[in-house]
């Protein structure tokens, strides 16, 4: 019964989405107030019904209803409760439902938090989101119904893919999808603005917080995914340039560019058509990512569900949504205008350079991801593009981008002076270069790339310090330095924090790439191996029985200079229902290094092949990503968003209720 309710709720949600996608949009262009007014209630009701459908699927998983095909193939009665819940989105159908739920959630959020915006604008935004929702709900109902029943009912399920049986998998997909789908808001705002012909600073200010929130979720989602790959896959890597990872990374790169571009549009009215294009691209890449993952055109270690028939549907949908919006862009963009002029040396041009570098980086990731497909389509054979390509392309693109990060915040808008910038930043530069040249010797071995990476990281920090000092100096008033520091805006601190996150991230990547040590050895019980000054002693394995698996559990005693510091227990698990064998790594994390042990294969007579890694600063990679996301969060709390929202609300209240005397209205507006 419950699954049927879920399916029924999905159908109702589709009908609501259809209404939401059409009537308010037409109403906004023809001036039908009642049609415009439909946008908010249909959007919110759609959310309620998608949530009901999602709840029904989750319920089927939690209660082990194996008469539902999706539950039977992705769950098992022995599976612990939190993984049964996570299994709801562990399958193709379930992850689509999660996608739809996230989209409905964003729709509801826009309808709640945009009360201060003009009604036609909100109506158009919600309609565009409705169009996307129609596509996904239809896709689900036509090709990937999560509620399909199975007869005869199996006694037990086939279990969730063991790779996904991990706490990280419980939170990673919702985070990632929140980010992915969140760009639909910026997209919808851009399309609504193109339709309405109103692209100005206000438009940028409206879409900026939404973009930032989506970007924060995406940042956290990607970081979690990378962390999951690090400890779950047992290879010790944190990024594989896998098509699915790339699919989430491309929107992130474009989203990062969009955040910066929106700043220029909001503050200087510039980059308008470029910003619109970025907003369209960020979400288009999210859709493309979904297509790549769900259609099976590319093989990947992540592709848990692939079906070319579904691909045709998504491709048609892509053509409609992306193609449609690019046609609209081509048609309307020239009316948008170019915005304020700026000199070659100015904050605008630094931001533009950064934007271009980020866009080119995203483009090259796209090319690398699709290259095998293109070559195959041209009949030139099969090949795969691996990390060497991406590393080769990425470092030369990101190094100048990161260098510009140090200069941009110090440059003036419109026109800056290069000699002036050089004077202000010379000490920061000298300190970064000298310490970057010297530091690698501290770690034992000088490497050019390590020096480069450290220089960029230190450069971000030193230039930020220069920037902060200057800011404090120009803040007037008889105040202590601390008070002056407190007077700087939240969005300024948010930016600096996010940039600091990049520095921390760069340190992590640089150090782990330059100095990680790896030992892949065959160990008898009692054998020892050394890595990074640590001694690892293998004490043999014991058999352990888990809820839905059996495991060989090794004990490895780690000691340094003869004193024991840690006992690590990596496992090799055999999941009973599917017969899958999984490696469960043991990691001893520290601020400056991780020790990482994973079991390979049993060799003979109690001996195992064991992989031992010493990974310096690896935690900084994810720490940096978290700082970036945190920076976004701090910037969101900036007072000006709240102030502007209040102003607009009051301005609209004034328009709606003309009986308020004009003088009062004016004083209310001027209050802040």
């Amino acid at each position: 019964m419950i699954p049927e309710i879920g399916q029924f709720a999905l159908t109702i949600a589709l009908l609501l989405a259809l209404t939401q996608a059409t009537l308010p949009l037409i109403g906004a262009s023809r001036g039908h107030r009642t049609w415009i007014a439909l946008a908010v209630p249909t959007g919110q009701a759609q959310f309620v019904f998608v949530a009901i459908a999602f709840g029904c699927l989750a319920y089927s998983f939690i209660t082990n209803d194996f008469s539902v095909l999706n539950v039977a193939t992705n769950s098992n009665s022995q599976l612990p409760l939190h993984y049964r819940l996570a299994a709801t989105w562990g399958s193709h159908e379930g992850s689509l439902l999660l996608w739809a739920l996230m989209l409905a959630l964003w729709t509801a959020a826009v309808s709640l938090f945009s009360r201060h915006l003009p009604e036609e604008m909100v109506a158009r935004v919600l309609s565009v989101m409705g169009i996307i929702s129609v596509g996904f709900l239809l896709f689900m109902l036509l090709t990937s119904n999560p509620f399909t029943r199975l007869f005869p009912v199996p006694i037990d399920g086939r279990d969730l893919n063991p790779l996904l049986q991990d706490p990280g998998m419980v939170v990673h997909p919702p985070m990632l999808y929140m980010g992915y789908v969140g760009f639909s808001v910026a997209f919808a705002f851009a399309i609504a603005a193109l339709i309405g012909g109103r692209l100005d600073a206000t438009w940028a200010r409206w879409s900026r917080p939404w973009t930032t929130v989506a970007w924060m979720f995406l940042t956290c989602g990607i970081a979690l995914g990378s962390f999951w790959a690090y400890y779950e896959l047992g290879w010790g890597g944190w990024w594989f340039w896998d098509p699915v990872e790339n699919a989430s990374f491309m929107p992130w790169l474009i989203g990062t560019a969009l955040i910066h571009s929106l700043a220029v549009t909001e503050k200087r009215g510039g980059f308008k058509s470029w910003t619109v294009l970025l907003a369209i691209s960020a979400f288009s890449l999210s859709l493309l990512g979904t297509f790549l993952v769900r259609s099976g055109v590319l093989t990947s270690v992540h592709t848990f569900a692939a079906d070319p028939k579904r691909g045709v549907f998504i491709l048609a949908f892509l053509v409609l949504v992306i193609g449609g919006s690019l046609v609209l862009y081509a048609w309307r963009a020239k009316q948008v205008g170019l915005g304020g002029k700026f000199e070659v040396v100015s904050r605008e041009s630094f931001l533009l350079s950064n934007n271009v570098l980020l866009a080119v980086a995203a483009g090259s990731v796209l090319l690398g991801t699709l290259y095998p497909l293109i070559v195959d389509a041209l009949g030139m054979g099969k090949l795969s593009v691996g990390p060497p390509y991406f590393n080769l392309v990425f470092v030369p693109l990101m190094a100048p981008a990161i260098f510009l990060m140090g200069i941009g915040p110090l440059a003036r808008w419109k026109k800056a002076s290069l000699p002036d910038l050089v004077t202000r930043l010379r000490w920061a530069f000298v300190i970064s270069v000298l310490s970057a040249l010297a530091l690698p010797f501290v770690f034992g071995q000088w490497q050019a790339l390590v020096s480069l990476g450290l220089m960029l990281a230190i450069w971000i920090v030193t230039s930020a310090v220069v920037n902060l000092r200057e800011r404090v100096r120009v803040t007037s008033g008889q105040l202590t330095t601390f008070q002056k520091l407190r007077m700087q805006s939240r969005s300024y601190y948010g930016m600096q924090l996010a940039h600091l996150g990049v520095a921390v991230f760069v340190v992590g990547v640089t150090m782990v790439t330059g100095y990680q040590l790896e030992q892949d050895v065959r160990m008898q019980p009692g054998d020892t191996v050394n890595a990074g000054g640590y001694e690892f002693k293998f004490n043999g394995t014991t058999n352990v029985v888990g809820p839905n698996y059996q495991a060989a559990r090794a004990e490895i005693i780690v000691s340094r200079n003869g004193t024991e510091i840690e006992r690590m227990h990596p496992e090799k698990r055999n999941y009973t229902a599917r017969g899958d064998v999984m490696t469960e790594t043991a990691i001893d994390s520290g601020l400056f290094r991780d020790l990482y042990v994973s079991l390979g294969e049993p060799v003979s007579g109690g001996a195992w092949s064991v992989r031992v890694y010493y990974k310096p600063f690896v935690g900084w990679i994810w720490g940096g990503a978290l700082l970036m996301a945190l920076g976004g969060g701090v910037a969101l709390t900036d007072r000006r968003y709240a102030l502007a929202a209040r102003k607009e609300r009051e301005a609209r209240a004034v328009v709606k209720t003309p009986e308020v005397p004009a003088a009062v209205a004016a004083s209310v507006q001027m209050e802040p």
């Binding site: 055109v297 093989t299 070319p308």
Partner: protein, 179 residues
């Protein structure tokens, strides 16, 4: 203005490639060994290690070499179908037990049944390297002259069996008769 059409143009090019890509199976990997002589080998048999099996023994017959292992999950999916193919009598199926422990392999066949005429034991995977094995399961159709005529990576699903393998095998057998 033309430059505003550039993104649309790029996107349409991308769509063309994606559309072509949809019609192709990324799992199909061309083998350099198609229409070449099957690499020779002589390996001990799984059920009777005293006896050996060689590709040479199969001269004059069309046969299928199926690479499997007890640790291979997809092999478990493929297994019931292999029974049906073997029962149809269209072509004998020989197993190549790939990088497996003897006890595990025997236990696996004991549990699920044995569709193979016999299985050869490729303990260290040397023969699999010669055959360019990409992963288990994998199947090769080898003709009367010892030439590889088809390689399939992944489970031999009923679709692939009826559309690719069976027509080829019947064709080869007919040619053999007329020769």
């Amino acid at each position: 203005m033309l430059r505003y059409l550039v993104p649309l143009g790029l996107f349409l090019v991308l769509v063309v490639f994606l559309a072509i890509g949809l019609g192709r199976d990324p799992h199909v990997i061309p083998s350099a060994l198609i229409n070449k002589a099957a690499p020779t080998f002589r390996l001990p048999q799984l059920k009777d290690p005293a006896k050996t099996f060689s590709a040479e023994d199969m001269r004059g017959k069309v046969w299928i070499l199926n690479v499997w292992a007890s640790w291979c999950v997809a092999c478990r999916d493929e297994h019931p179908w292999l029974f049906e193919y073997a029962r149809s009598g269209a072509v004998p199926i020989y197993g190549l037990n790939y990088k497996d422990q003897r006890e595990d392999a025997l236990a696996w066949l004991g549990e699920l049944g044995d569709p193979y005429v016999l299985s050869a034991v490729d303990l260290d995977g040397r023969v699999a390297i010669d055959y360019g094995v990409y992963g288990a399961p994998e199947s090769y159709v080898i003709d009367q002259n010892g030439t590889i005529r088809l390689k399939h990576v992944g489970p031999l699903t009923p679709d692939i069996w009826s559309q690719k393998v069976l027509p080829l095998v019947q064709d080869l057998n007919r040619q053999g008769v007329t020769k």
